[in-house]
């Protein structure tokens, strides 16, 4: 092995210094990311905003950056905990099933950005989309935090670069790249018998770079309501592994291969009713998420690059419960989704003048799930292009871009974006951006075939509706005389679309960084559930999906960061948000909507003042953070307070609208604290507590455990110079 590499080195020694220089540049870029991210240092490099590397200070769309150091200072092992500490990012439960009778919400939690549901934010890992969304939500617990290099959050419609799902924005989780030799171990222990272990190894030997990461996490879960049989969150264990290899094939060609494996197993244990008698059912859920990524990066010239990449991801989820007494299989579900995504991307840089990026590719998706009608495929081809000009001695940046997507089942879709940034001097930056976003109807909207055995209703995807209604009618399960003819040849769903605008200003002066933003998003053709005009024979409804909704979200955000002393930095952020349904406003104006007084039970007309807005949205959310750092003593402490204001939970007064205090979940604070101390040159000890106020809400927010404590032991062994070549 060693000989072989030496041979190669000789062959290409002429170019080697260039390649090395490139690597060093990259390493410097990474170092800078680690050095500081919160103060928005203009040196930090981000990739998500433009699909190619840019200095943070030059980006014209709103971007939040979370660096490795910040992640490690919070001590958190859950990416959602880190995300929710960012201004304008709220972790919300699926609107579909907020905890049923004390069981955890089966649909999980996701990211709400700009007031849009989790289904409208694209979640990328190293730039590639993850699959396996359940009711629109991608379980973020799948991602370990130990190997995250940087999280980039782009707010606002980003379909011009990322296509479907990027209506609210993009969260790109970038993992460590092969770097100088480093071996790391981490041991994590927390409340609820939670144990975590991490092993990481990185090295770069001549032209080969390697990065390996392995993490195991297990917990006993927790129980918020002891009066109900079973735990709120059942015990689980997760394995997470990633292997990245980079290889310099020539001085102009670099290969990156990345393999990832996630494997999780969680107990299922709850009480059901079997033949009208209570019975205990138990089993488990297994989840796997495996992806492979290969990319050739070809330096065509000093200013142009070509990427050829292929990505494959497969997510499976199998779940069952058996009756404890008899061992009889009570329930069983399976879900298997995969995506294959080949892509070519070209970049051209004219330093100081312009940058250009373009690409094309395709998305081939497959799904086979017990709740879906058969095995289904969807294919999309797409192309995107974006140009960025630097004008007025680089004070002005203009960006124009667009993407087209053509999926087999609907017409060509165009998503443009325009953005600009103006920097009149070293202190101020003004940005404006406008973009169109879209979200294609997903598998569930089209192929779901779900019958709720416990309650008795049906939910059918629009593409299977006609066929399934025919079957139900044949089996005599439809209400007699039901006229299914309007549904047998129903036209398909259209993509949901959005148009978003953002205006921003940023002021940087020495110790102070202040940022303001205003945003507005109009969303049309929202896909929503509706009940068919006839029922099943049990008189319970049949639901399907249709394009009906037109909503808007608008608001303002502010971020401040101030270096109080050398050791102390204060920061905070606030978001004001309004999210409303335009049809509801129109109906209110036309005196078509009523409310029922919760006490007198009498109805009266609804007014605009009564209407709070869409469920699950908080009008006010804020965060405040204090970071204390004493680098010479190797000590840091990080305190964060996050407030989520009151938000609509569900209608109670007979109008399907959130308009009454009793329909709101009161606001709450999450206070988190972590402190770490470096001992010697290798060991770092961190202790912390999350949810210091011990806030819980078993029914509406079952995802929040009470107060938890944790301890992390980190061992890092660097050998920075061993393999360094001339």
């Amino acid at each position: 092995m060693k000989f072989c590499i030496v041979k190669q080195m000789k062959k290409t020694h002429y170019f080697f210094s260039i390649v090395l220089a490139l690597f060093q540049l990259q390493a410097i870029a990474q170092q800078r990311v680690f050095k500081d991210t919160l103060d928005g240092s203009s040196e930090t490099v981000v990739v998500t905003a433009n699909r190619s590397e840019r200095k943070m200070g030059n980006v014209a769309v709103p971007v939040i950056l979370i660096g490795k150091k910040t992640i490690s200072q919070t001590g958190s092992l859950r990416i959602q905990d880190i995300l929710q500490e960012q201004t304008g990012i709220v972790i919300v439960n699926s609107a579909l099933g907020t905890s049923l009778n004390g069981y955890p919400n089966p649909f999980g939690q996701g990211v709400q950005m700009l007031g849009l549901d989790p289904a409208y934010t694209a979640i990328l890992l190293d730039g590639e989309p993850l699959v396996g969304r359940n009711a629109g939500i991608l379980k973020l617990g799948r991602l370990a935090t130990g190997n995250i290099k940087q999280v980039e959050i782009v707010k606002g419609p980003s379909s011009s670069l990322y296509g479907s799902e990027a209506m609210a924005g993009v969260i790109n989780i970038l993992t460590d790249m092969p770097a100088k030799e480093n071996i790391g171990f981490q041991l994590h222990h927390a409340t609820n018998n939670t144990w975590g272990g991490t092993l990481s190894y990185a090295n770069r030997i001549h032209k080969t770079g390697i990065q390996f990461f392995l993490n195991r996490l297990s917990t006993d879960g927790y129980d918020l309501d002891p009066t109900i049989y079973g735990k709120t969150v059942d015990p689980y264990r997760d394995w997470n592994g990633q292997l990245k290899i980079t290889q310099e094939l020539s001085n102009k060609l670099q290969l990156l291969v990345s393999l990832r494996n996630y494997d999780a197993k969680q107990d299922n244990n709850y009480q059901i009713f079997y033949q009208n008698l209570p019975a205990i059912a138990s089993g488990y859920t297994t989840e796997t998420d495996r992806s492979a990524f290969a990319q050739f990066k070809w330096l065509l010239s000093s200013n142009s690059k070509l990427y050829v990449r292929g990505f494959y991801d497969r997510y499976t989820n199998e779940s069952f419960v058996n009756l404890d007494k008899t061992g009889l299989r009570f329930d069983e579900t399976s879900f298997d989704q995969s995506v294959f995504k080949p892509e070519i991307q070209y970049e051209k840089n004219r330093p100081g003048k312009s940058q250009y990026v373009a690409g094309f590719g395709s998305n081939i998706e497959m799904i086979d799930a017990s709740r879906y009608a058969g095995k289904q495929n969807l294919a999309t081809v797409y192309g995107f292009t974006q140009k960025e000009w630097y004008l007025l001695s680089q004070k002005l940046t203009l960006i124009a871009g667009a993407r087209i997507d053509k999926r087999t089942d609907f017409d060509l879709h165009l998503s443009p974006r325009l953005a600009m940034a103006y920097k009149p001097n070293a202190h101020w930056k003004f940005t404006a951006s406008a973009g169109w976003g879209f979200k294609a109807p997903d598998f569930r909207h089209m192929y779901l075939n779900f019958y709720n055995a416990q309650i008795g209703y049906s939910l059918l995807g629009s593409a299977t509706l006609g066929q399934e209604l025919g079957k139900l009618q044949q089996q005599g399960l439809l209400q007699a005389g039901a006229d299914i003819s309007p549904y047998t040849n129903a036209t398909g769903l259209k993509p949901e679309t959005s148009f978003g605008m953002h205006l921003g200003a940023k002021y940087t002066s020495g110790k102070l960084v202040a940022e303001w933003g205003l945003f507005r998003n109009n969303i049309s053709n929202l896909i929503d559930v509706y009940a068919l005009p006839f029922t099943r024979t049990n008189s319970l409804p049949i639901y399907s999906y249709r394009n009906v909704g037109n909503v808007f979200t608008q608001g303002a955000e502010m971020d401040l960061s101030y270096q109080l002393t050398k050791q102390i930095r204060l920061s905070g952020g606030y978001q004001f948000l309004l999210a409303k349904d335009k049809q509801v406003l129109e109906n209110i104006d036309n005196d078509l909507l009523y409310k029922r007084d919760p006490i007198t039970l009498q109805s009266s007309l609804l007014t605009r003042q009564d209407y709070v807005g869409l469920a699950n949205r908080s009008k006010h959310s804020l965060n405040a953070k204090v970071l204390y750092e004493e680098p010479t003593a190797g000590f840091d402490a990080y305190f964060r307070a996050v407030y989520r204001g009151a938000f609509g939970f569900m209608d109670k007064n007979g109008n399907n609208i959130i308009d009454n205090e009793s329909e709101l979940t009161p606001g709450y604070w999450m206070l988190n604290l972590a402190a770490s101390k470096t001992i010697g040159s290798h060991l770092r000890v961190q202790i912390g507590a999350e949810n210091l106020l011990d806030y819980t809400n078993p029914v509406q927010l079952s995802n929040i455990p009470g107060r938890t404590y944790f301890i992390n032991l980190n061992l890092n062994i660097h050998q920075p110079t061993k393999h360094k070549l001339p």
């Binding site: 579909l96 907020t98 209400q479 005009p533 029922t535 008189s539 409310k595 109008n655």
Partner: protein
């Protein structure tokens, strides 16, 4: 001049109306009465309906299901009016948006009937929302039911206030409690 003309017109209309009422209504001096009651309804698609008669403000026994003693019937969320396919009565219903206290005149025409067992006057889902999260039935606010009663000669207005589950153990409730408010006009007039 114009005002005076309007005044005369109003006066004339009022006279015509009072005249009509005098002709049609039986001259009984019983005022319209308003009540709030709770009806226990089977949570089942097969068990018997609960029948209600406005005149006696009471549940009507199932043995009287083929008489005109009841005006409407309920089972789970299926709503019957005593007419055609559902019973021998002449009951009709109009579901109208509005505020119960302000709607004081029942329409004299436009009533819907249970033409067939699958084409009922009150469509399922037209007056409630089912919340799959809380598994509750929430009557829509601002819905007023106008009835012409089973005898075809009286009017009532009704609104649903709440639908709750009767206390139950087991996986599914067995009974629903429909709380409703109504005004019945015993004198045959359509105004309450």
């Amino acid at each position: 001049m114009k005002n005076r003309f309007n005044f005369i017109l109003i006066l004339a209309i009022a006279l015509v109306f009072t005249a009509c009422q005098k002709d049609e209504a039986t001259p009984v001096a019983v005022p319209a009465f308003s009540r709030t009651q709770t009806l226990t309804v089977n949570f089942s698609a097969t068990k018997p309906f609960a029948f209600f008669g406005f005149k006696d403000s009471a549940l009507v026994a199932n043995t009287d299901s083929t008489t005109a003693k009841w005006d409407f019937g309920l089972r789970l969320t299926t709503f019957l009016v005593n007419s055609n396919a559902s019973g021998p009565g002449k009951a009709g219903v109009i579901l109208q948006d509005g505020i119960f206290a302000n709607l004081n005149t029942a329409p004299t025409s436009g009533y819907a009937y249970d033409t067939t067992s699958t084409k009922l006057a009150i469509k399922d889902g037209s007056w409630y929302d089912y919340n799959s999260v809380s598994r509750s039935l929430v009557p829509k606010a601002g819905k007023v039911f106008f009835f012409r009663t089973a005898d075809g000669a009286h009017y009532a207005k009704m609104q649903l206030l709440a639908v709750d589950y009767a206390p139950f153990t087991g996986p599914t409730p067995s009974q629903l409690l429909y709380k409703f408010q109504y005004t019945y006009q015993p004198n045959g007039s359509n105004s309450f």
